[in-house]
Symmetry: C2
DNA sequence: TTGTACGCGTTATCAA
DNA sequence: TTGATAACGCGTACAA
């Protein structure tokens, strides 16, 4: 910066202003400074700036190690969407992985308390906390995405899992289905609770017993989506009274389940209707094309970033702590009426 | 840090040493200092440290905007693998998107020249360059991954696309296939050149004419993998002399192509054999299960990080500029002999 | 083994 | 509108 100042014939502080706060410097001197900077190939040092202003321009996204590239291909779209919004706001995106070990928790806490990051978007249900340091009271703005953590006081951007599953179950009931097969992801997990809850609500509303739904899976994490479907198919084979409709909590498990089930000679939707969750593009090209509840990941990403930047800029911290963005059901040939 | 020093009854510099260079301080005072630090919930400021030592601990990965979540689900695994290796080395991963606009180039150059990052892994064929600043002479260690950029002097970690496609084509020829349908991604792209080159090499080696292969696609980017397959199916329908084998350059396009082709009444592998590239897990559950060339993305990620950290640490900059990690063919039911 | 003192490259304050 | 100067929090000579 000193070099630029010398070349432009001004003081260092003027260069700083011209570059960081262009409005507060004469247009002509600013031109001189910009020319000098370009000529010297000068770029301001981000760490020095960060140190001085006491702020980083990096946002971290905290991904739970286990669902990283499970959750059926949702993560890359989340990253894409979030990064795009952040860059427009002048921020950069850093990836942080939260596993079940203390090392990764400590790592994230170091990032948070060491001033490396300005805010966080978290996709995990657990907030890092070690040795009295806790992400919750790091002072960092945090937004939860996919999972509702408004109980913990976090702004949360979620989709209406429960309602979406309730509606699709109601539709299956309307079509005449009375026995259901529910394919669970990680058990007790927020998504599991919500989605299974939606199934039960629909049954209750129709005056049907909750015993009509058989749960399968629940002991593997999202990363093993395909494995869950494979095991569920074995599970299905054991059943004496066969369900006529399957509700899967991710496209991956639906796809592998369907593949295995078809091998046993059952046809879809003739013998069995199938609907799943996520909205992966590949569902359109399965045979039969798979019905799926599409998560609005791009919109959720944008919303999460908006909330985070609002919190950072102290723009009125929205009172609503829970932002719900609706899923949409894509109905395809995998769903039909049961044989009578 | 001053607070910690006061509480521990030592000088600030001793605290600094104890935390950043534990070997150079008495064990007992170090314990005192650690205790004080923990009690105060102290975490060293990363930007101040970075400024002082003149080094960041952030690595950026440069993703081309257009293939971001195309390339059939390869990217999330790349990120996962790279991030894991980086964290072990004490580094953090930042995401940077390189689109075709000057804004994103400038953004990346600011990161590089502003001292924000310590090195870069690039998955794009274009090095940002604007106003005389160029990533190539930023002084930053750079490793290219997926694409061979050794011509530009960059350490490159790639798989043996050409050879893998050559081998699988040779296998198809051995099975009796004589007419081929090649499904291209972005035309002229490194992968296209290599993979198509592999097809031609196999034909040449078998003494067959290059006219036996029909190229389809090539005008859309990877992000539209499924669309490419759909259009290719239309293209296929126009052909008077039907090929008996399809070589697709990504699983996505193979999947949508197969879906559409089956609707026209053709059967796979009876009428048409299909093999594709990437090794997506979903291929196992297609009907029929899809043969695919699996890219060793995890290994490639690890190798890229190793090379990058070597370059950063000035450990002898490996003379070999091109690291090849072999793909493996997963042969499934989508491939068979042609009808005679 | 520990302490003193300086400087890394910025920006903010204040005065001119 | 511009310039001089202090300070952000740390690491590292160098001296003790």
């Amino acid at each position: 910066m000193a070099d630029v100042a010398r070349l432009a014939g001004v003081a260092i502080s003027t260069v700083s202003r011209a570059l960081a706060n262009p409005g507060r410097v004469n247009e002509k001197t600013r031109a001189k400074i910009n020319a000098a900077a370009r000529q010297l190939g000068y770029t301001p040092n981000a760490m020095a700036r960060g140190l001085r202003v006491g702020k980083s321009n990096i946002i971290m996204i905290i991904l739970p190690g286990s669902l990283y590239y499970g959750a059926s291909q949702v993560i890359p779209q989340v990253l894409q969407s979030i990064n795009k919004s952040l860059i427009q706001g002048g921020y950069n995106l850093m990836i942080a992985n939260l596993d079940r070990d203390e090392v990764s928790e400590r790592h994230i806490l170091d990032l948070a308390f060491g001033g490396s990051v300005r805010g966080a978007i978290i996709l995990s249900s657990k907030l890092p906390e070690v040795d009295g340091r806790s992400l919750a009271n790091s002072g960092l703005p945090i937004v939860s995405m996919l999972l509702d953590m408004s109980d913990a006081g976090l702004q949360s951007v979620v989709t209406n899992d429960r309602e979406a599953v309730r509606d699709v179950t109601a539709e299956l009931i309307r079509l005449g289905h009375r026995r259901f097969f529910y394919l669970a992801g990680p058990e007790g997990n927020y998504h599991d609770v919500e989605r299974y809850g939606g199934v039960l609500e629909a049954l209750d509303a129709a005056g049907l017993s909750e015993d009509l739904v058989h749960r399968s899976g629940g002991h593997l994490d999202y990363q093993h989506g395909f494995d869950i479907g494979v095991q569920a198919a074995d599970d299905f084979a054991e059943l004496t009274e066969k369900p006529t409709a399957v509700i899967a909590t991710s496209d991956d498990m639906a796809i592998s389940f369907v593949s295995r089930i078809q091998r046993t000679g059952l046809s879809i939707p003739g013998d069995l209707s199938v609907v799943s969750f996520d909205g992966s593009p590949v569902c359109e090209f399965c045979s039969p094309p798979l019905s799926t509840i599409k998560q609005p990941v791009e919109e959720m990403g944008r919303a999460a970033v908006d909330l985070l930047l609002d919190a950072i800029d102290q723009r009125q911290t929205t009172a609503t702590v829970r932002t719900v963005i609706r899923s949409s059901l894509i109905l395809r040939e995998s769903v039909g009426s049961p044989k009578s």
